[in-house]
Symmetry: D2
Subunit: 318 residues, 4 copies
């Protein structure tokens, strides 16, 4: 069987580990594996290379994606899809494994509807894919963010300052919540829940009265710009603060062990699905187990936000 | 309510985060919290200190345990237990939260049988506690081990050498398996499954013929000494190799975000149990959810080894 | 002899290691050591604590400064200085060791002119103190910055994007130059040398023609805001780019081995100077050797920028 | 001009950065650059590849050496040298830049005596090359070792234990001294100075009496096996201890910023020397400046041990 793999959307640490596992498990099962470069664009551009065992040597620990990623609006058109299918057919590629975020997974489904056995693997630092408890890259991004907050705390404590730190996550507060819980942030603002800057101010005042003069306030990018929040807090508390926007730092770096394992195991499930001829499926973790769900029905569910963890973060930052 | 917390057994990264969460959630619930130093020894020695919010400032990111840990054989005697109960009663401490490995959790159960509301939190890098999918410290230890293997691979590749790396885990191969999967080790020897050094040799030969002259072979300490394995491999393959015993390196270091969150959430469940007067319980993760089980029945179960992950590790290291 | 130590100005990783070495070498020489909290403010507020061996246990690896730091405008007034001298005299503190940047070192000199044996240790991540080749915190900041750029490169390569990264350094380009050389940045803009955005654009075009579609451009904060540079580049090249402002991240984190050693050795020289009754001196590294210079004459020299390293960075980024 | 570059001896972090700089600065100067694989063996085996700008993309941050390294006894023979010269001449390679330890540098000199313009760059983690204050890889190895000791200290403190840690360095105690100073080790045993286990025991007892029950004792591999030292200490103090042999961990990992800069700048000097036709030279750092010395005279000098730093380490660990 000829199987192709691509990475698409924002890059996430662990994508290389997933590609490696597709290649190795595929070859173990006597398949020929191909790498499509720069996501769906590579199908249209026929930018497709054969991948051998040696092609994925020494990539498991690398951040980013060696297959690269790119946007491709043409793929969303009917003509684009025709060209994609034609290119895959000419190379006799029967199956495509797509590693990426929600747009990418929908792309996999579109391929599947045109007869390619296409399977999705959730690869995004944002952990915002419905139906799966975790996505590839999330654990690394959370560790990067919480390590950064540890460093910021050194300075915050030394200078007794308030820092407003903006974290990634698009419309999701998952990174902010996990990093905040892990780093002991004093306040966390997420788009999933209403927030009250007056309460943030009250918390600042309470801890000031307790003699704790530094604070770290996390703002998920889906809420607002950290600069806006900082300006508003300054206005209300009449106190100085500093802003840090972590930005693309959170995308990079060597994946954590957990992300490498998650990527390897999800890729393994994906290869099994493809070998069984089951397309239109998304590999997920549910109740701590690796399994798969139908893409069409999965992607219409809302993503779940862990309100219990959020409440705990508040309790622990008294 | 007066609640005491202690850490016992081998130290594990995240123990401080667990103690911090016990203190903060306890105080949030209007309890008085006490820290017992050096595990059960501290109950007997009445080495018990009050813990305030400020006592656990700036500890969430610290490795080890600031309450320290020690062995205490006296606690296992009937006279020792009497003394422990007397000391706790004199201080009007009604509940004790014990963070540690299997021996420590049994100690919690023994306290519980004597009328103290005692709850266990699984804290050990070995991930060998039955009934829970993960223990505090495991994720950090696996990351430490896999980062170390990444470094060893730099040298292995440069010199085209075989390295035999010994990992911790007592009678469990969990660290070796996870680190091996994460770092792409060529072979993994664990105590849970029979192994065949001839197969290890065959794998070495196959990869040599493919032109890959370096290899990393992981040995869980429960299997054998890495030095013994290395000597035996040299004898069979007539090839040079190098040995590294990671040892206590795996216990230390700042906990990963995942371990800090796990520790905080398990501690939160423990405080809830204690507040509800439910002793003799062990906080666990089952099916990816935080819950609790009866200690007596939990500790007689065998720990589960993930054979599917092991098989995948083999497939991926072809 | 009674010696006090303080940290002042922006915090820098290694300040704790310097304080530790002052305490330990001082006690070794039978001195009594005091810590002044929050820089010169602590002298005025008489916020001064005795430091024993145990006070500096487990601080060598910590970022920030446990003595904290703050601005103090009052100290610069004549009345403030009188009060400072009076406070020190009442406690019979004969000598003060000041760890900080240029303002702090001038403060040490002012104390010295009033009869206190005051010695300066250059502690600032900016490496902008004349007369010394290196300052405490610089090596850590450069490593933090170059590791961050390594992570950014993962994403830049995966997406084939240009990133504009703003680095600290006040009026100095030292961090930008060193981090750029270490991380292989494509262009480095520093305040010490005129720069030409057209040349930056030309370099972008040349590497694009060679097929290298990602680039990292470093901007020292003394040059301009990275956002401004990004906007200007977009205008001239008609290409998208991304901005990251590393900010206070660069101040924090566990000091590198090199910074811990530098801090310990500079502190050792400072204690020797104080014991010999030599005030008004700044501890420096010159020609790779630890020595000391007169503060008044040192601080009027211009800081040196390493133009040869800058030229090399350009050559290596062709 | 056709210039070849090779890495030889034990691998050291930063070797890739040095090769990269040779390639880029060489190409900038219109040279053709070749990479010789696996050290001197590659000259004999004619295992020589052209290196372009793209060949060294994305290697500056990588540990190990992508050109690999190996032992080669044949090169030391007269016949081997004849073959080497013939192979280089046939390819019209006029100059060879050798990155490695003392044996490798002597190999460069041997080539030079046979008419090749051969220049040495000191690349070894051991920092044991006479005439230079620092070698490529030393800073990374010291950071790796001191970070490992930080982790070990977490456990040592939690359990109140003594750890004996064996560090690399062949006949040099440089890594042990620097890591010990950086990590605040309680005792450091180096081959350059006589040591007295009774004094180590006395220090253990003194700190025990002060209530500090944990200790870290570093042993340079040139002194003895850490296991031997541990056994002897147990005999004398009747106290338990733990042994860790860091081993090849110290060779790997991404080079520090300092090592990347050192490697780049030394490589730049090497290319300048070769372009000027000056062979038989070793690139060194003296008095904090990059310069070069005659190999023959340099290699007969003894390496210098920093006794002042050693004394300070003792004072700071009281």
């Amino acid at each position: 069987m000829r199987i192709a793999v691509l990475t698409s959307g924002g890059d996430a640490p662990g994508m290389n580990a997933a590609v490696r596992a597709v290649v190795r498990k595929g070859i173990f099962n006597n398949c020929e594996i191909f790498g499509i470069r720069e996501g769906f664009r590579g199908i249209l551009a026929d930018d497709i290379i054969p991948l051998q065992l040696g092609s994925v040597a020494d990539v498991i620990q690398r951040g980013g994606t060696f297959l690269r990623t790119a946007r491709c609006d043409e793929f969303k058109t009917s003509a684009g899809m025709d060209k994609a299918i034609a290119n895959l057919q000419r190379r006799e590629i029967e199956a495509v494994i797509v590693i990426g975020g929600d747009g990418s997974i929908r792309g996999a489904n579109a391929l599947n509807e045109r007869g390619v056995i296409a399977v999705g693997i959730p690869g995004t630092i944002d952990n915002d894919i419905p139906a799966t408890e975790v996505t590839i890259g999330f654990d690394t991004a959370v560790n990067t963010a919480s390590n950064a907050i540890d460093k910021i705390r050194d300075t915050a404590t030394s200078h007794q300052r308030t820092f407003i730190v903006e974290l990634m996550g698009r419309r999701s507060g998952a990174i902010a919540l996990a990093a905040g819980l892990a780093a002991g942030a004093e306040s966390i603002l997420v788009p999933e829940l209403p927030f009250d800057l007056d309460e943030v101010c009250r918390r600042l005042e309470v801890s000031h009265r307790r003699g704790k003069l530094h604070s770290i306030i996390l703002v998920a990018e889906g809420v607002a710009s950290a600069y806006e929040v900082a300006a508003e807090l300054t206005k209300r508390t009449n106190q100085d603060n500093r802003v840090i926007v972590l930005g693309h730092l959170q995308r990079g770096g060597s994946p954590t062990a957990s992300d490498r394992i998650l990527a390897s195991r999800m890729a393994s499930v994906a290869v099994d699905l493809v070998l069984a001829g089951k397309g239109g499926r998304l590999v997920v973790v549910q109740n701590g187990r690796y399994t798969d769900v139908d893409i069409s029905s999965a992607m219409v569910q809302p993503a779940v936000f862990d309100e219990e963890a959020f409440k705990l973060a508040k309790i622990l930052s008294i």
